[in-house]
Symmetry: C2
Subunit: 319 residues, 2 copies
């Protein structure tokens, strides 16, 4: 085992990044690695855009716009205004500072860097000392099957504002995608002491990661505590379409449906499921699924909430 014991956090965008920030404040930099969804990534106007990686980097470096929930604090919109004047595609709002990130990354990828290598260099330039690991260097693209047909993720999520009713998802390219070399190296290092599945969307953030060929089985084989945090609190998603998706898929809109989903697709993977105090009545039913239940206030309003939830999760992971 080279290096210290490490917590591996599995994360999508906003909700996951909040807990990742709490974990980053509670752990030494080399004791945390964040494994990030890249199936939302897309090429737009020539630029390679990685929304979840950027949300992590912006959040961990203190650059994120907290009131807006995405993008950068103090952002300006000169390019978008000019693009609007040209009657260009402006449905995906690209702030000026955010654009610099996409240009930087696209330039690096064009020179032959892998997404992992480019992300590591970008994190370093932003002063992020936690390892932010793209799930894969290969292209995986989430497609949303809906009552309006098949939509690429950003078309569904941003352009259509999650309005179409979903009936399923697929991750194009996943069957030929490999976990990124750094992820495989970490899993093989003997350093991973616990795994945290952040309160991210189960269907479009966590699933693409865990469904990479062999990945969830490798994690299960580590035989370390795996703690998942429910993204559903009192029947609602804090942010994003998770609750709406549960309803449209005909599932109950509560934390129990989330752990049932994980248990069905990744049997035996999750040891402990963290739910909100408001959902304490679900504890008995969840226990019957063979999963330990831990109840706490899971709403992360400010940094002290994030740290408190991180400490709670770490304690349940035996850390």
């Amino acid at each position: 085992m080279a290096g210290p014991a490490t917590v591996l956090a599995i994360s999508g965008g906003v909700g996951g990044a909040k807990l990742a920030l709490g974990l980053a404040r509670e752990l030494e930099p080399d004791a945390l690695a964040v494994l990030v969804n890249t199936a939302d990534d897309f090429c737009h106007l020539g630029l390679q855009i990685c929304p979840d990686i950027d949300t992590l980097l912006y959040t961990l470096s203190g650059r994120s716009n907290r009131s807006q929930g995405w993008g950068l604090e103090g952002e300006s919109w000169q390019v978008m205004a000019a693009l609007e004047n040209l009657e260009g595609e402006t449905w995906f709002r690209l702030g000026d500072r955010d654009l610099a990130t996409h240009l930087w990354r696209t330039g690096r990828l064009a020179t032959g860097d892998s997404l992992s290598t480019a992300t590591r260099a970008l994190a370093s330039r932003m002063g992020v000392d936690v390892a932010v690991l793209p799930m894969s260097d290969d292209t995986v693209s989430t497609w949303v099957h809906s009552d309006e047909g098949d939509l690429s993720f950003q078309r569904y999520f941003v352009q259509r504002g999650c309005e179409p009713k979903v009936n399923g998802f697929s991750f194009r390219g996943i069957e030929h995608a490999a976990p990124s070399p750094e992820v495989l190296q970490l899993l093989d290092s003997g350093r991973v002491a616990a795994v945290v599945i952040c309160p991210s969307n189960p269907f479009v953030s966590v699933d693409p990661i865990l469904q990479l060929p062999g990945l969830w089985q490798m994690i299960a084989a580590l035989q370390v505590p795996v703690v998942a945090v429910s993204p559903i609190i009192a029947g609602q998603a804090v942010k994003g379409p998770a609750a709406k998706m549960l309803a449209e898929l005909g599932l109950s809109v509560d934390a129990e449906a989330v752990i049932r989903h994980y248990n069905t697709h990744y049997p035996g993977l999750v040891d402990t499921f963290v739910i909100d105090e408001g959902d304490a009545t679900l504890a008995a039913a969840i226990s019957e699924l063979g999963v330990s239940v831990a109840v706490t206030d899971t709403m992360m309003r400010d940094i002290s909430d994030k740290r408190r939830l991180a400490r709670f999760v770490l304690s349940r992971a035996g850390h």
Copy 2:
């Protein structure tokens, strides 16, 4: 002959765009077409950048930054500042409004539009009613052979500030490139009544256009007046490296060397060569080359200069 008699102006960037603007003010919109160099085009940070086309569009739409000689008036630099913070590639200065142009174009090309089609749509959005025709929809790239080795054009021109000593040029891809469909259509229409070779750099702006397979021969075969304007005034280029290139290639640094270059490579093409009053002593030697010489004040300081030179050139083209 469908449509009115048309003047075809052959142009690179800044110097050519000045005369093109003068011509645009003197002629009806459908009586002028500008054939623009695309061999300076390059892909940078994922974006398809066409410096000469953009200079034309910005100049003809009144958007150009006149004091700077490139880019847009009232430009802002938010993205560049952020890219600099990321220690990104900032040697090619991309203003925010200019970036919108590149994003717009790159998005269009990604959907399968040709450069010609994208340029026509962009011109229309900018209110440019003159036809701005990319020389080719195929990729042609100017390489500069120098004492520092082979450099791509923008590396030489922008990043190295034209510092390396040149010993030649090549236009990669030109042997397989075709003039754009709109250019071929115009040449075939019977509408072209005169051709003006603008005061652009002979080596890196005019040559790539005229050396497209078959193009200069097609122009010569039109049997219409061809008037070229010298980019060299009193041994100096108004802007850009033309004078420096002449010297480094071992040629005399004057207007005569320019017409000798055209006469050597495109024998019989140029009927009339317009030189500056300050170069009147060269008239006799140029006449001996079998080319008519026309002498006038060719310096274009303001719009009235541009219109005056345009009128002068048109009169020499029998227009």
